[in-house]
């Protein structure tokens, strides 16, 4: 099992083998996390710093828990509240933290490419926890693990990604990952929320959700950001729900065993019907959260393996 990457900046750089490596290792952590003693010490003595330049509760908690369960010393920094306000640049902040000798930096930033930039300037492994509209690799990996466990495979599936594709890093990372694993991908959403050049991505694009959902194995919903709801991109919340919200009637067009996913946090009644989200027979949303911790533990172990085993990358 080799993993020849210094950082995890995106799915783009990963091979199908890399993806399988991470998911296989994550499976072992799923088992560990279900025991009452959830601790192991593969990251013992290492320092993990979570730098979130953008608000996050769920992802930050997931990374924090993952690090702690692996035995790392975890520090959280809410970057909005700190030096950024004092005019310090991203690189200065990175260099300051770098001087404290962390072994792993987990970074989220509102601008695409900011995590790549930071990774060029520090000596430790950097894990992208979401940069602008670019990538959110651990989200795609946890989605992949969820799909693989629910469907028994991660290839030759028909997967619909629905909603605000244009502004979604989750959609980009999933597109890349699911494409690399040879699935059929459909993107569903209003044209105002589709990225440019989408015709060249090798995916099917639908603006009619009913057509797009026909016979798919997986329905992946995306969150619609509040600031995009009024007038600019869509006429209103209620028209969006009518045309692009997932409810039982629309889901009935998918395969009978199709699963429903959502990266959270959900807007019930905007992109997804509340009852459907809670339907344990169809919705795997809670399982996604569970897989998140396991996948992040796997990714962190793989990135720090050269430190913990002394092996060359």
């Amino acid at each position: 099992m080799t993993f020849a990457h210094r950082h995890l900046l995106g799915i783009e750089q990963l091979s199908p083998q890399d993806i399988t490596t991470i998911l296989d290792l994550a499976e072992t952590y799923v088992d560990l996390n279900r025991q009452s003693a959830k601790h192991c010490d593969v990251l013992s003595g290492l320092t993990q710093i979570n730098m979130f330049f953008e608000n996050s509760t769920r992802t930050q908690a997931s990374f924090e828990l993952a690090g702690k369960r692996l035995g790392a010393d975890v520090m959280n920094m809410a970057m909005q509240a700190s030096s950024i306000k004092k005019g310090e640049t991203l690189i200065d902040t990175a260099m300051t933290l770098n001087a404290m000798h962390p072994d792993l930096l987990v970074v989220r930033h509102p601008h695409s490419g900011a995590v790549d930039l930071l990774a060029q300037k520090v000596n430790c492994a950097v894990l992208n926890a979401g940069d602008g509209r670019h990538e959110h690799p651990t989200q795609a990996l946890l989605d992949a693990l969820t799909i693989r466990r629910a469907k028994g495979r991660l290839h030759r599936l028909s997967i619909a990604i629905c909603g605000d594709i244009a502004h979604s890093r989750v959609a980009r990372s999933n597109l890349l990952l699911l494409g690399k694993m040879e699935n059929r991908i459909r993107l569903i959403g209003p044209p105002t929320l589709m990225p440019s050049g989408i015709g060249e991505f090798g995916v099917e694009v639908y603006d009619d959700m009913r057509k797009g959902l026909r016979d798919v194995d997986v329905v992946m919903m995306l969150r619609l950001q509040k600031e995009r709801m009024d007038g600019g991109f869509i006429p209103s919340e209620r028209e969006y729900y009518h045309r692009y919200g997932l409810d039982a009637e629309k889901l009935a067009l998918a395969k009978p065993d199709a699963i429903v996913m959502h990266p959270g946090p959900m807007n019930r009644g905007v992109e997804i019907d509340g009852t459907l989200a809670d339907d344990i027979n169809r919705s795997v949303i809670q399982e996604q959260v569970e897989m998140g911790v396991a996948v992040r533990m796997a990714a962190m172990e793989l990135l720090t393996r050269p430190l913990t085993t002394g092996a060359a990358v």
Binding site: T89, L90, H109, H111, G132, H134, R172, S196, G197
Partner: protein, 428 residues
Amino acid sequence: MSELYFTNARLIDPEAGTNALGWLRVADGQIAATGAGDAPRAPAGTTVIDCGGKCLAPGIVDLGVKVCEPGERHKESYRSAGRAAAAGGVTTIVTRPDTAPTIDSPETLEFVTRRAQADAPVNVVPMAALTKGRQGREMTEIGFLMDAGAVAFSDCDHVVADAKVLSRALSYARALGALVIGHPQEPGLSKGAAATSGKFASLRGLPAVSPMAERMGLDRDIALLEMTGARYHADQITTARALPALERAKANGLDITAGVGIHHLTLNEFDVADYRTFFKLKPPLRAEDDRQAVIEAVRTGLIDVICSMHTPQDEESKRLPFEEAASGAVGLETLLPAAMRLYHAGALDLPTLFRAMSLNPAKRLGLASGRLSAGAPADLVLFDPDAPFVLDRFTLLSKSKNTPFDGGRMQGRVLATYVGGAPVYRRD
């Protein structure tokens, strides 16, 4: 002043469209005579310069150079820009008014002219803003500014969004015969954009603008030209979609010309790669199809001018996430070597390149330079189009080192530059 006699030179004459061995004689700072083949015997007292078969062309007239005085002299001063220009074979820099404060009053323009005369070894001709503070609300004192030496009026990358304001400024400028330089871009559509829309921008997650925004901006400006009859130059046409509109406007007899920056001719959107901010330009780099179409437009003469769009930025304003980083690249010293990429690729021949870099901008601004004919100022560049080198950005003479060609393999070097017959640069 003693006479100069260039012999054994490959004369690049953009007026005649020729490229042939010959000689050129300079007297009193002007080109006195040129001829083909072997030179007649030099009269006594002349300095003979054997060019060894290298190219001698009219010095480049770079339309749209930013020198950061007043306001940000740490990025570029008249001294550093002038030295960089001389090293790049640029004998005339046409400066932009997008400084801080804006060059929008005769007083500021006089300051700039004084600084330029004191410090720059090459000719400096200034442009002034079209509207006060480049705010797009009130026109500047176009008449006074022309009296003070302004050769053209431009708000640079601040598009005058209000069509009424622009139409009045154009009408007023027409009465004075002033040249107005526009930045064709639909400001609403291009707001916040850091890349050209398409697959690459989507994969990188960058806010992007459709190439259509350029055509929309150009269409509007052309409509206003029909209305006002002003003299107009589009600073940068970078997309295929804008070209038919430009062609129609020229065919309809409007007084319109267009330029393109060297970076848009030699680089495309993929060069941004992993968020390399030195490749962040305004307008953003385009698709390869657009680049090819624009090269073809330069070849046919539809696009008149190639310029460097020299825009110095310090390290701090580039060492930022791509969206936050400043736009622009320095180009005075790399314009000629980059243009040689087009020559070596077989896309454009040398007379065509110097028509776009020297002759056309000079003609458009009413300058006597840009030619190799007798009576023109002896603004000359001697260069070796084949000399290879790897560009190290820290060797640039500009104070700012933000070139996208850092580490690039270039071919084509300036050997010497003359302004008014006086040497201002010589490569050792």
